[in-house]
Symmetry: C2
Subunit: 387 residues, 2 copies
Amino acid sequence: MKNFNYSIPTKVFFGKGQIEELGRSIKKYGSKVLIVYGGGSIKRNGIYDKIVSILKDRDIDFWELSGVEPNPRITTVEKGIKLCRHKNIDFVLAVGGGSSIDCAKVIAAGYYYEGKPWDVVVNPRNIEKVLPIGAVLTLAATGSEMDKFAVISNTETNQKIGTAHPNMAPKFSILDPEYTFSVPKSQTAAGTADIMSHTFESYFTNTKETYLQNRISEAILKTCIEYGIKAVNEPENYEARANLMWASSLAINGLISYGKPRKWAVHPMEHELSALYDITHGVGLAILTPYWMKYVLDENTVDNFVEYGVNVWGIDKNEDKLTIANEAIEKTKEYFVSLGLPITLREVGIGEDRLEEMAKKAVSEGKIGAIKALDEKDVLNIFKAAL
Amino acid sequence: MKNFNYSIPTKVFFGKGQIEELGRSIKKYGSKVLIVYGGGSIKRNGIYDKIVSILKDRDIDFWELSGVEPNPRITTVEKGIKLCRHKNIDFVLAVGGGSSIDCAKVIAAGYYYEGKPWDVVVNPRNIEKVLPIGAVLTLAATGSEMDKFAVISNTETNQKIGTAHPNMAPKFSILDPEYTFSVPKSQTAAGTADIMSHTFESYFTNTKETYLQNRISEAILKTCIEYGIKAVNEPENYEARANLMWASSLAINGLISYGKPRKWAVHPMEHELSALYDITHGVGLAILTPYWMKYVLDENTVDNFVEYGVNVWGIDKNEDKLTIANEAIEKTKEYFVSLGLPITLREVGIGEDRLEEMAKKAVSEGKIGAIKALDEKDVLNIFKAAL
């Protein structure tokens, strides 16, 4: 186990009706709020009205930035920063999934930065102060509600880049599983794949003897497998939504990655897909994951996949190692299929033409991946296999 | 899953050499420190000298309260409070296991309370302000390094009572697994039993569909089973000490109890044993646990024990339910035996004479236990079975 510094300061109000904590929680930090959200879904399902009524009751002034894209753009961040400066905003409230929260985070960080907002995405060292942030979660997927990370796209440069700062972690997040009842099947499926992918990125490493972290990772994976399909088939199953929602936060808040290196593989590959083709992040992850697994499986990594197959999928441990490993990968793929997710790039409109360009960009800062370091050629091979 | 409010604010510096973070971390809160510790072990193994040299280097003034008992007494807390007031202490640093940390917590809480310090133990509502606390952990067991709880004994009234306040959670804790290399086999074993018992108290409840929490509980239990015995047999096995140490914190910091009721059974029973006979807490827990399990096993609870047997002990799920349950309980007992722990009350000098008195006290505030509510008669039956 490697040394680590644990700090997960976000408070979480989890469960039915926890929105009632919103007013008091904001008041600890400010009274002039920017609400950041995406499309109109929060207006259709009543969450918007509820929030507005709470803010009014508490005499909290608010302004709005709506229309945050599924892959939030730096131009939208820029709009938010302008609004914050113009109105002397002192608190940023994201309402939505990872897109809205990530956008809110970079608005809050960019507010204090004098240069171009894209600079704080490209280089987190430009971040010093950050406006306080809160989140009302409406989609279980990215875990942004409880971590310090944000991913922003730049359509001018065709880049999609992650940034991070401890102060970008929300001060509080409200997680009401009922708020995800209206999430469509396809988004529920993509969110489940996203949670699983976060877990895989931490689970499949070469660090020895992070036994506890690996068992907790398996706990999260089993939860996704148990409840992802239930949430897809029964959108208003509270326990399914609750377990998935809490899994989304725990998969990436640090819990399972402490004591391990943080060198992800599938996420940087996928970021290139969605930067160029604007596909749903979780869909891209679901497509790439099984091909990535197959590609990195070899005699050095087979034990990791055996551990995965036996502990997560309940495969007989007495079978041949390679058989277990391949069966585990096959089961992963089958599970994504059962969720209704695509399994090839072509299905989401990605052809052969720009694979090389994306492979090159994916490793622009060096090899990627913890269990097996991947270079440009490796990434291209995985892309081609996933066609 | 029940609603919950998650807040785990303690920062943890985990790993070799993390003591170097001590000076900077204290300086954020104060510069006049009371060091609270137990016997002389931290002087023998060099931890004391290291801490003193760091404090001196940073120009941090310090005073000492040594001799904290394994079951820390209110009289020792009172001494600490006097010293803090006399010297205008602004930070309390516990060095040791749960005893020293619990003692430090109640010193820090009692400092601001004008009445008798015992009042803040008996009634946590008397706690408002708390001096900032830090911990350097030298024993993996109680989890006090990352939670808000403290247990203090009163030898005048023969009481051992738990208290809690959010501000009693340490601001930071330093967890260096090497600091536990010199923990004797018997203490390592008792600590492992304590971690497992914390997990059992949260794991065995009737709350439906806390799937994720249950799987994480199993992750912690498997870690204890894997590494408790290794740490007993190979005291300087870093990975064993590291996994146990991190398990001790995660077992009780809230992670596995969020979304469940907090109604413990074995701990309140054991507190009566150690209040009256001053035995090691973890030893008392190890003795009582299998008898408690047998006592609460019935047709309503058998599924919980099947889950435990199959997922933690790998028992064949196709066996008869009751067979699995009983085998799981037997394996639990056998594991404690393998650690060298006693399995009867007589072995630790507890006879029949005061069982009734202890049973009565254990339920003085009502029935105890989440999976099956136990009254005085139930507790007495368990005590008798454990004789």
